[in-house]
Symmetry: D2
Subunit: 316 residues, 4 copies
C-alpha cells in the first residue's frame, strides 16, 4: 500500500493560499484532512454532484456569510440548510446592521447593560434586533398578500427576493433558485415575528411538513450528491437525512469542533454516516476537526482556485 510521506513545510515570502493548503496535505494531522477536503469539494463540482451546504447560525454572524453567498452565486451550493439565527442575521446584515468583534472573556454584566448580546467573541446590539423587527413585519405582510400557506423554503425564497445585497445568502439563493431549508424556522426572533403576524392573520400558515417534498425534490436518486456540513445540529442532520432518502452521498466533507465521544450530531463522523447510508460505503469522505472560521475559507480557496483553473467556475 502506497502512502504519502510527511514533508517539512517552510515559509516563503508571499505564499498563495492554494500552495499552502497543498503543503498542509503533507504536514499531517488536520492539515492532511483539510487538503483532502479541498480535493473532495473540487471533485463534487468536477463530477456534477448536487451539493448540499449546511451551516449553523453563528457562522452567519461571522464573516463566513459572504463566502456562503458567493458559493451559491457560483453554483457551488445547490441546496442550503441552516437555522433561524442564520436567516435572521443574513437579513440583518443585508439591511445594514453591523456586528462587532470583542473578546471571549469580557465582563458579561457590563455587556448586558450596554445591550450587547455576545456569541463567543462577536456581539449583536439590541438596536439591530429592533431594526430587524421593524423590517420583518411589513415584509411578512407583502408575502401574505401573495400566499397564505407557504412551505419554509418558499417563505425564505420570498424573503430573499426582497433583499438587495450581493453578499446575502437569501438574496443569492432566491436569485439562483437554490432552496434554503430551515427545519426549526420558529426558533428565534423570526419565530416571534411570525407568531405576532399569525395572531392577526390566523390563516397564515408556515407549512413545515410540505417542505419535506421540496427537500426530497432537491436531488434525485440518480444524481451524484455531495454534502459540506459545517458544524452540527439540525442543519447538518436535515441535509444528510434528506440525502439518505435519495440514496446517500457520494462526497461528504464534515467540519466540526465536536468530538465523536458524546454521540452528538456535531461530532458524528462521515464514517458513522456510512452505517446509516447517509454517506455511501464507497463515498469520498473526510471529517475535519477545527474552527470553521479558519478552515473553511482555507479549504474553499484551494478548491475554488482548482475549479477556476479548470474552467468550472467564473470569477467571484
Amino acid at each position: 500500500m502506497w502512502m504519502e510521506k510527511v514533508r517539512d513545510i517552510k515559509w516563503k515570502e508571499g505564499m498563495d493560499v492554494s500552495g499552502l493548503v497543498d503543503m498542509l496535505g503533507n504536514v499531517g494531522f488536520q492539515g492532511a484532512e483539510l487538503s483532502r477536503a479541498a480535493n473532495i469539494i473540487a471533485d463534487m463540482k468536477r463530477n456534477g454532484a448536487k451539493t448540499y451546504l449546511t451551516f449553523t447560525s453563528n457562522m452567519v454572524t461571522s464573516g463566513l456569510r459572504g463566502l456562503f453567498a458567493q458559493l451559491i452565486k457560483l453554483g457551488l451550493a445547490d441546496v442550503v440548510v441552516t437555522t433561524t439565527g442564520g436567516i435572521e442575521e443574513d437579513i440583518m446584515k443585508a439591511i445594514g446592521e453591523d456586528f462587532l468583534i470583542g473578546r471571549y472573556s469580557p465582563d458579561d454584566m457590563a455587556l448586558h447593560e450596554k445591550g450587547m448580546n455576545r456569541i463567543g467573541n462577536l456581539m449583536i446590539t439590541n438596536e439591530s434586533y429592533a431594526r430587524f423587527e421593524d423590517y420583518m413585519l411589513p415584509a411578512l405582510r407583502k408575502i401574505y398578500k401573495k400566499q397564505k400557506r407557504l412551505a419554509v423554503s418558499e417563505l425564505l425564497h420570498e424573503l430573499g427576493l426582497m433583499l438587495k445585497d450581493e453578499d446575502s445568502i437569501l438574496y443569492q439563493a432566491a436569485k439562483n433558485r437554490v432552496p434554503v431549508f430551515c427545519p426549526a424556522i420558529t426558533d428565534g426572533s423570526l419565530g416571534f415575528h411570525l407568531f405576532m403576524f399569525q395572531q392577526d392573520h390566523p390563516d397564515f400558515i408556515v407549512d413545515v411538513v410540505r417542505d419535506f417534498s421540496n427537500l426530497l425534490a432537491s436531488s434525485s436518486f440518480d444524481d451524484k450528491k455531495g454534502v459540506i456540513a459545517l458544524g452540527g445540529g439540525v442543519s447538518k442532520h436535515h441535509a444528510i437525512f434528506g440525502i439518505l432518502l435519495n440514496g446517500g452521498c457520494d462526497y461528504a466533507v464534515y467540519m466540526t469542533t465536536s468530538s465523536p465521544h458524546s454521540g452528538s450530531m456535531g461530532g458524528a463522523t462521515t464514517s458513522e454516516g456510512k452505517t446509516w447510508g447517509k454517506v455511501k460505503v464507497d463515498a469520498n469522505e473526510v471529517t475535519v476537526i477545527g474552527d470553521v472560521s479558519i478552515m473553511f475559507p482555507l479549504v474553499m480557496a484551494r478548491a475554488m482556485d482548482a475549479m477556476k483553473a479548470e474552467g468550472l467556475i467564473g470569477n467571484g
Copy 2:
C-alpha cells in the same frame, strides 16, 4: 472573600452517590461545578421555579430517557424541549424496540451491511425504524380524526396519550400536562411520516407558528424560571429563547461537551447567556463540561435525594 478549600477525597466501601457528589464539590475542576449544579437544581424546586428541561436526541437513544420521564413524573420538569430524534426514539422504546451498545470504532461498513445504524457507541437497527413506521401511520390517522391543524406540542401530547410506558417521556408529559416542544419536528423519520400522511390529507397541518403561543404560555414573566440544558442545538436555544421572552432565568444549569471557542450554541455558557438576558444578571447559574451520560444521573441523584429529604418530591 471566603472561598471553599480543596479537600482530598477517599474511597469508603459502599459510598452513596449523594455523599460522593458532595465530596466532588471539594475536589475541584468539573467536580466543583457538578456539585454546584446539584444545588442549583434543588433550589429550582425549593423556590417553585418553572423548570425547562432540554436534551438532544442522542440522550434519548441512551438510557437517560427513563430519567427524563421520571423527572416529568415527579414534577421536576415543567416544560420539555427536544429534537425529532428524541421523539422518535422515545416512541420506539415505548413500543418495545431495543437499542444496542457497541464500541466507538467498529467496522462501519460491516454495520451498514447488517442494517445497524450507529450513534457513537450505540446502535439502532433498520427493523426498529420499520416498526416505528408501521406504528406511526395509524397513530397519525387517529390524531387527524380528532384535529386537522395542530401545534407541534399538541401533536406530541396526542402521541403521548397513546403510549402505555411509564418510562416514556411523551407518556409522562401527556399524563402530567407538561408541554413538549420540538422546534424542528420534521427533521427525521417522523418528518417523512408526516409528509406521507399529508400527501393523502392535504388539510393536515402541523402549525409550528402557533406553538409559539404555547411556548410563551409555558411560564409567565412573574414566575421564577429555571433551565436545565443538556447539550446544545435548537433544543437548548428554544428553551432559553422562550425564557428570555418571559424575562430570563433565575436558575440555569448548562451541561455540554462543547467549548465556547467556536461560538456554537452547544458551547454557549451561562455567563454568555447573561448578555442576552436569557439568564438574569443575578441568576444562580453554572456551566458543567463533560459527558451528560455520566454527569446527569450523578447530579440528579444528589439533587433528588435532597428534595426527597425535604419532602419536595415523592419516591420515583
Copy 3:
C-alpha cells in the same frame, strides 16, 4: 454477536455509587466506557497485574490526591508517574497548605494582585510557595548528607520518608516501597530549589539516566501489567513507554479530556497504543473521555467495592 442493550436509568433514593456505575454501563456513550473501565481495573487486581498509575499535576492540586495516596496504600498502584507540580503540591498539602476553589472566569488581574495563582477553578497562594521553599532547602540538605548522587525516584523516596501525612502520595509510596517516577523533575519550583542547592553543592547530582534502570525494574517481561493513565503528557508517556520495554500492557485504562485528532499524547487512545506494542493486541483496554475529577472517583469506587467484596483489598 451478542451485544448489551441500552437500559433506561432511574433515580432511587440513596443510591450507592457502585450500583450507579453498573447502571451507567447500560446508559451508553461514556457511561458504558466508564463501567468497562471499572471492570478492567478490578481485573488488574484479580489477575495480579503490576499496575502503573499516572496523573498530571493539576490532579494533585485537586482533591484526587487523597485517592491516589489511598490506592498506593491499598496496593492498587505498584508504580506511580507524575510531573513536578504533582510532587510539589503533594508536599505542600502534607506540610499544611490549603488550596482554594473559585470560578473559571475570574478577574485574573485582581487574583494576581492578591498573589493567588490560578489553575482552572483552583488557586494556590504565593505564601504556599514560599513555605514550600522554606521546607525544601533543609530537606535537601538532609538527603545530601545521606547520598550525593540519586536517581529521581530515589530522591522522591527520601522526600516521602520525611512526610507524616497519611494522605500524601510520596509518604504512602515511600512507606509501601512504590517507586514514583518524575521524568521532568526540574520543571517547576522544585527544579529551582534543586538548582539553588547544587550551586552550593556542585557534587549533588540528580541522575535521570540512572532512573531508567529503576523504570525497567519496576515490572518484568513475565508480569501481567496494567496501566491507569489519567490525562496525558510525559507522565502517561513515561509509563506506557516503560511498559512497552517490558512487553506491553495486558490491561489499559486511559482517561482524558483530549481528543485523538491532534495527535497529542493526551488524546492518544488505547487502540493507537496497540500499534506501538504499548498495549498488547489482545489487551483488555478502554479509553474514557471526560473530566477525571468526576470520573476517576466514580470508577474507583465501583472497582474497589468489587475488590473489597472479593477480599482483594482491605478497608481504606
Copy 4:
C-alpha cells in the same frame, strides 16, 4: 470603546496567505484570534523580545519541523523547549527517515503486525527506530569523549553539531547558538540509549539540575520576552516557568486544542498565566484554539511576510 466590525469574506482567485489572515481578523471566532496572534508575533520581533518557542513531539513528527528549524535560522526563536520525542524525530528525519501519512481510524492490529507505529494519522516504522539506535550509540561515544557531565541543552547542542540537515531543529539551534531545553530527556528511546551507554560508562552524567542555570540565563529580567507555546505539557510549562523567573512575558501566544475546563497545562490560557506572573498583566497576549498543523503555518506566514516587508528578517 471602539470595536472592530465583522466583515464578510469572499474568495478571489490566487489569494495570498497574508491577505487571507488579515481577512480572518474580521471573520470572527478563532479567525480573529489567529490574526491577533500574527500581529503579536510580529511585535515580538519588532520590539526585540527574546522569543521562547515550545512544541510537543507530535509536531516534529509532522511537517512543522521544517518551519521550526527555519524560525531558528531566521532569528525568530531564541530559546526552544520540546520533549524527547521531538528530539528523536528531528534526528531521525535528519538521518533520512521518512514518516508516513495514513488515516485516523485504521486497523491498528494490522499496523502493529507491519511494524508501523501510529501517532494520529501519522506513522513511524520500527525500522526508523532501529536505525536511530544505530546512529545514537556512536554519537554518544563521541560526546562522552569531549565531556562526561553535561546539562541537557549542552548534550543537545553536541548532537546538533553532528547533523548536516538545514531543516533540522537541532542543527539550526546548534549553528545559531539557540539553546534547546528538554526537561524530560529520558522519556523515550533516547532515554533508553542514554541508559545503555551509562551502563558501560557510569561516570556519564546528564545533569538536568545544571540546565536550570542555562534556562535562567536564556533571558534576563530586563529583556522584553515573548513566548509562542504550541500544545501543552512540560514544553509549555518549562518555557513559561523559566520566563516567570525572569519577570514574565511581554508577549504571549498560546495555541492549543485543549480547553481550560480540566485545569490542564495544555488548556491553560494566557489570561490564567497572568495570575502567576508568567504573563505580565499588561502583556500583549492571545490564546488560539485549534489544530496547530493548520494554524501555525498560517499565522507565521502572515507574521513573517510583515517582518520581511519591514526588513526584520531575510529570505527563508
